[in-house]
């Protein structure tokens, strides 16, 4: 389906069924790729949610925010505080994190959206860096500074105590009404939340509201002469994407109950921009695809080191092995972001629409090739109108 057409309920159902199947069977089909362990799959889900939300702002309106990691951080801190003060149950943590991130997004969006283009990007970046630095300095009572916010056996956990749950030995685990927030159950909790998050994003994409956001991206001048006040539309999109980031942040805290300020740094904001563009900004699936691929490659390549490379090329003569290892080693391990940078540049130059554009190009090529023998030049008109 071309992205600009009006989606039917049947297409929407198909999307949901396929996505749910793919996501829920991840532990099976990721096995051959060596990526079927819970920590990594949780990351896929959590950053997937982050990217889906970011795409609602950037993909639909074209407003490039460089500060969304701030909302992720707010979500994480809020969730850990909820674990400490209220309950190890993730439900209040998720609710408070999402709401507080939304409130934060409202404040930052209210100011930043007075400008557009590069000035908007810089304002969001400035706000995020401000939050990052505050977390390290003035706000240490809340954020615990460089050590990061951690759980403690002596935390109040008011609700848990009232229910008679005491942490007897060691730190308590996060849970969803008894289901553990880590490991495989943690993954499934994240997966189901991702499916719901995707559903909401899909409804927004296919609503008049979403179409208006696209129209803002397409021609903001026409929007105002058509009778729309664009500011509240942009602010709503900004808040929604901020809430998604907060939700992702709370899930990070669920799988690993520790919140540090480095989650708010601008590189973390840059990462979500990268994942969204890599997969295809403005498409439904693109951000998920980008997240999956980047997180997977990160996982593989950052684990490489010289000795692994040496082993890989052991079938080659020693001198060639040494040369190859010397050439490749700067791009793996610590230097894997160098590789990411190169791949990203290639994508932006050759496929500005991300992987989804590549997919579109290839499927059109195949369709054309298949049609050619059957057509025999009889109906050229079929071609232009037959777009699905």
């Amino acid at each position: 389906m071309s992205n600009t057409q009006i989606a039917t309920p049947r297409q929407e159902l198909l999307y949901m069924v396929v996505l749910s199947a793919v996501v829920l069977t991840m532990p099976l089909w990721l096995q051959p790729f060596g990526a079927a362990y819970p920590d990594l799959m949780q990351k896929f889900m959590i950053f997937g949610i982050f990217a889906i939300g970011y795409n609602i702002l950037f993909g639909l309106t074209g407003y490039l925010s460089f500060g969304h990691a701030a909302f992720l951080g707010v979500g994480s801190y809020t969730a850990v505080w909820s674990f400490k003060l209220l309950s190890m149950n993730v439900v209040p943590a998720i609710i408070f994190a999402t709401l507080l991130a939304g409130l934060f997004a409202w404040l930052i969006g209210f100011v930043s959206l007075r400008r557009s283009g590069i000035y908007f990007s810089i304002l969001t970046l400035a706000f995020a860096q401000m939050s990052y630095n505050l977390a390290y300095s003035v706000l240490t009572p809340i954020t615990n500074g460089e050590t990061g916010l951690q759980l403690n056996q002596a935390d109040p956990r008011v609700i848990d105590r009232m229910a008679g749950i005491e942490a007897t030995s060691g730190l308590p685990n996060t849970n969803l009404f008894g289901l553990e927030g880590t490991g495989y159950t943690g993954f499934y909790i994240c997966a189901i939340i991702l499916i719901v998050a995707f559903f909401i994003s899909m409804r927004i994409f296919h609503s008049p509201f979403g179409m208006k956001l696209r129209a803002i991206k397409s021609n903001q001048t026409r929007m105002s002469y058509t009778g729309y006040n664009t500011r509240p539309y942009l602010l709503t999109a900004f808040i929604i994407s901020g809430m998604y980031a907060g939700l992702a942040g709370s899930l990070l805290a669920m799988t690993d109950p520790l919140a540090g300020a480095e989650r708010m740094q601008w590189t973390a904001s840059g990462e979500v921009v990268l994942m969204t563009i890599f997969g295809g900004a403005g498409t439904l699936i693109g951000p998920l695809l980008g997240t999956g691929i980047i997180k997977y490659l990160e996982n593989i390549f950052s684990a490489f080191n010289d000795s692994v490379l040496h082993n890989m090329f052991s079938f080659l003569p020693d001198w060639l092995n040494d040369i190859l290892t010397a050439i490749i080693s700067p791009f793996v391990g610590e230097g894997w972001q160098l590789l990411l940078g190169i791949v990203f540049m290639l994508i932006v130059i050759f496929l500005p629409g991300g992987l989804m554009e590549g997919y579109g190009k290839i499927s059109r090529m195949i369709r054309d090739r298949r049609q050619k023998p059957a057509d025999d030049g009889s109906s050229d008109t079929q071609h232009s109108t037959g777009e699905v």
Binding site: T4, I6, P9, A215, S218, Y225, T230, P232, E387
Partner: protein, 253 residues
């Protein structure tokens, strides 16, 4: 005499030292087509920009019916019933033609902001049918699922006209609607505009093409160096010696 729908009183606009408009007074009656002609740089576009709220006048007041337009934002003025086509078509190049028309239809129905993030576009049958109807009117129905940016310039203009028409505005402003069009396209646009005229929509039209002006306008105002130098029926304007001198350089029309 019908009702006055647009009432412009003593409007002046200066940019720095340049007096772009000086003491413009204009009354447009409901249901008429009012053309504004004048040489390049006479202030025609500035005048339109003042009406739609893109520019704030330095002095003076603009009324639509009994509502003050001066000082309002473009989107508020549109919501009061003023639509405009631009010299270079302002459309949504990344959306399909159908969506291009649905956007203004939603603006008319739901106002300047409506939340509704979970409403389904697919379920908006009424709006879609209305949009298709208008597209049929302007002869673009076959291309309804094409991306607007891929259309020819003439088609983009017709699309922009359709985007304004679906809002059924009280006042429709057209800034050179046939500029850069072939004779054939110009004639079909005239024919389209004449059909709208029958609906009783009030229009202000800025145009260089005298053929267009004289086939559409009920009244004509001539603008030169920021001031209205003549106003009247096409016949009166055609014979006005001041107009001949200032605008036509002494030649007859």
């Amino acid at each position: 005499m019908g009702n006055v729908i647009l009432d412009v009183t003593d409007v002046s606009k200066s940019f720095g030292g340049l007096q772009a408009l000086s003491n413009i007074n204009l009354r447009v009656e409901e249901g008429t087509v009012h053309a504004i002609i004048g040489p390049n740089g006479a202030g025609k576009s500035t005048f339109l920009n003042v009406i739609v709220g893109r520019l704030a006048p330095s002095r003076g007041r603009v009324l639509l019916g009994d509502q003050v337009l001066t000082g309002k934002q473009p989107h508020e003025i549109n919501q009061l019933g003023v639509a405009r086509v631009f010299q270079t078509p302002e459309i949504f190049p990344d959306l399909t033609l159908l969506q291009n028309i649905m956007i203004p239809a939603f603006a008319k129905r739901d106002g300047q902001f409506s939340f509704g993030i979970f409403k389904s576009l697919f379920a908006e049958r009424g709006i879609r049918e209305e949009a298709e109807h208008i597209l049929e009117d302007v002869g673009l129905i076959a291309d309804r699922n094409k991306v607007a940016g891929s259309m020819s310039r003439g088609d983009k203009r017709r699309l922009e006209l359709a985007m304004c028409l679906i809002q059924d505005p009280k006042l429709f402003l057209l800034d050179e609607p046939t500029a850069g069009m072939s004779r054939h396209d110009t004639n079909s646009t005239i024919e389209l505009l004449q059909r709208i005229k029958e609906r009783g929509m009030t229009k202000i039209i800025i145009e260089h093409d005298m053929h267009v002006v004289f086939s559409l306008a009920d009244r004509i105002s001539v603008l030169a160096q920021g001031a209205i130098i003549a106003e009247g029926t096409p016949e009166e304007v055609r014979n006005d010696p001041k107009v001949k001198e200032a605008y036509l350089g002494g030649e007859t029309l």
